[in-house]
């Protein structure tokens, strides 16, 4: 992807620090109580002063997760608390907006707490524009991952140095939304895809043709009478090229299995259970499983029986139905 000329301009902004944004209110019991009520937090360390006095902290503390909340902007015309600098800490995002990347989605944030915050502390934070990714395309659209780092401080009186109390990595994706296809919904499109076809050669044609005749044909050596699967041009036991097949009963048991969840690949169902079946004739064959009950895992050793299903109007495949486990 060719680099935009203006990228050097925004890359030069990396590392820039943006001012102080103050909390509107000192850390206080009322806001802590309201936050705990709304969030369903019942820890008495945050709301019960008598209890808090008996803990190692000796007094009420604020829930650490409130750290970002204390310094959030307000709603009015003057949205930043007094003392805050006026410079927009999201300058990099404003810049990208001007280049034609209007949409934004928060991607992830990591919070780190140095210590508990106590009642009466006055907090502020500074912001560093930490990094910008190369241009990326995701399902949402094309744009840039922008990472900001906020550092939170408790302001001290009497000329003492302010104390760092926590920090936050905050990453957003600033992007041009992808254009939605105008016609056909994706699901409909997916439904049109067909199952991959097997590779058929002179060595295994009998096997695949058998399914159309609703037969499970397992290769048999006409010389030594042993079975083998997958089919081959020669007997792996006696090296005879004189091979035929035996029609198996289609009954067997589950030797192993998987349940596929991801990635979703059309036209297959998700989840897609696949069994490794040990046929009663003694050879194994993998195939789709049917008859799973929701929430009940298949059991190794469970009896199965073949059924033949036509897919896409042209491909007959064996599927093995899980039979009920008999109570003993």
């Amino acid at each position: 992807m060719a680099k935009h000329e203006w990228l050097s301009e925004i890359e030069a902004m990396v590392g820039r620090q943006y001012g102080r944004i103050y909390a509107w209110d000192k850390v206080n019991e009322a806001m802590v109580r309201q936050w705990c009520e709304v969030m369903g937090v019942e820890n008495p360390l945050y709301t019960d002063a008598d209890y808090a006095a008996t803990t190692e902290y000796g007094e009420l503390v604020a829930p650490p997760a409130m750290l970002q909340g204390w310094c959030l902007a307000g709603f009015g015309d003057e949205i930043l608390a007094p003392g805050s600098t006026k410079e927009n800490p999201y300058g990099a995002l404003v810049f990208l907006e001007k280049q034609g990347y209007p949409a934004v989605v928060a991607v992830n944030s990591n919070l780190h707490f140095d210590r508990y915050i106590t009642m009466g502390e006055k907090l502020y934070y500074t912001t560093v524009f930490d990094s910008i990714s190369d241009e990326k395309t995701t399902a949402l659209g094309t744009g840039f991952f922008v990472t900001l780092k906020m550092t939170y401080f408790s302001e001290k009186a009497n000329g003492q140095d302010d104390e760092k109390v926590g920090d936050m990595m905050f990453r957003v994706f600033k992007f041009k939304p992808a254009k939605k296809p105008e016609t056909k919904a994706p699901a409909k499109e997916a439904a049109k895809r067909k199952r991959p076809k097997p590779g058929i050669s002179d060595d295994n044609r009998f096997f695949w043709e058998g399914f159309e005749a609703k037969e499970m044909r397992i290769q048999e050596c006409n010389s030594c009478k042993k079975l083998q699967h997958p089919p081959a041009p020669v007997c792996m036991h006696c090296h005879s090229f004189d091979l035929g097949y035996k029609v198996a009963s289609g009954k067997g048991e589950l030797y192993s299995f998987v349940i596929m969840h991801y990635p979703h690949v059309a036209p297959f169902d998700s989840p897609n259970p696949i069994g490794l079946i040990e046929l009663e004739e003694g050879v194994r064959i993998p195939a789709g499983l049917i008859g799973l009950e929701e929430g009940v895992s298949p059991k190794i050793g469970q009896k199965v029986e073949v059924e033949y299903h036509l897919f896409d109007g042209e491909l007959t495949l064996p599927q093995f139905r899980l039979l009920p486990i008999k109570e003993s």
Binding site: G199, I200, V258, H261, V265, V283, I300
Partner: protein, 391 residues
Amino acid sequence: MNESISGKAAIAGLGATEFSKNSGRTELRLAMEATLAALEDAGIDPSEVDGFCSYSVDKVPEYEISRLLGCNEVKFFSQIPHGGGAACAPIMHAAMAVASGVAKTVVVYRAMNERSWYRFGTGDYGFASSPVFENINYGYYMPHGFHTPASWVGMFAQRYMHEFGATSEDFGRVAVASRDFAATNPAAFFYEKPITLEDHQASKWICEPLHLLDCCQESDGAVAMVITSVDRAKTLKQKPVVIKAGAQGIAEGQQIMTSYYREDITGLPEMGIVAKELYTQSGLGPNDFQTAIIYDHFTPFVLPQLEEFGFAERGKAKDFIRAGHHERGGKLPINPHGGQLGEAYIHGMNGVAEAVRQVRGTSVNQVDDVENVLVTAGTGVPTSGLILGAE
């Protein structure tokens, strides 16, 4: 006279790019960066290279590297098939070439933009139906949607769990230990990002019985090494890392990822063949290693590998893992770079690189007093292994 390759050749130079999800440059460039770094590390002039070996799935041809290096005379080149099963074999082939005198200075490399250019696990490969063997073979799986490496491994894992009582938590313990090492390896993608067993259990199903955190990463990057004779390596810049043994293995009933038709599918007999040959060549045994690089594209196959090499009895690797022997500080810490689960997936070549650092004593997660390191290659496929050690 010792007719084996043991002790005849050494890894004299090591180079790598950074590991990422999008290298932003071509695979050829990655291969050249790693190769030049390896030659610089060894103190060998590029024109001296007279041999190459890589994976058959690597898309960078040795003749282009040779042209760009300005090699005078290249007399040996080979490629090893079967994906990650080739992780150790190029070094073995290079050692064979050096030991036999066919070549003197062999570069091995693996360069890939696997994550950003093509992904191995999409399940959507567009196999054709013409009667070449590959189509015939995958035709038994693809029409059912049984089409990802995770699902093929899962089929073995489910049976292994059933027979030996291993659990998803046991697989998780492998991932947790790898991520612990990665957390202190700045070259790892998951640097400073350890996980807990709870994280592992809570991660989404990719394919039952495999969770997301049972699966290795997808990565871009390159690793290269230079192999020459032990005698010459002693005159070069780095401490020689001696190739004490190298082996490949194909066992009865072998297929690529789908050897389901063997009497028993809970073991990795091809790795057993590699183990026997490595121990025979080197005269070493399971008690002679201070650390090991055990191929970890998916966690479940780490367990039978520990059994095939005699670190645990059949079916007992779960006890080895539960005791934490594989962890940092354990009796056999495995994958101290963080493995392919934690550092990067460079098809196992980054694991060989870690073994080199462990023998040199230069790893960020250095194990004490390393004399011998076992390295294994991809599991479920025709595979390979190495024993590297100090002189």
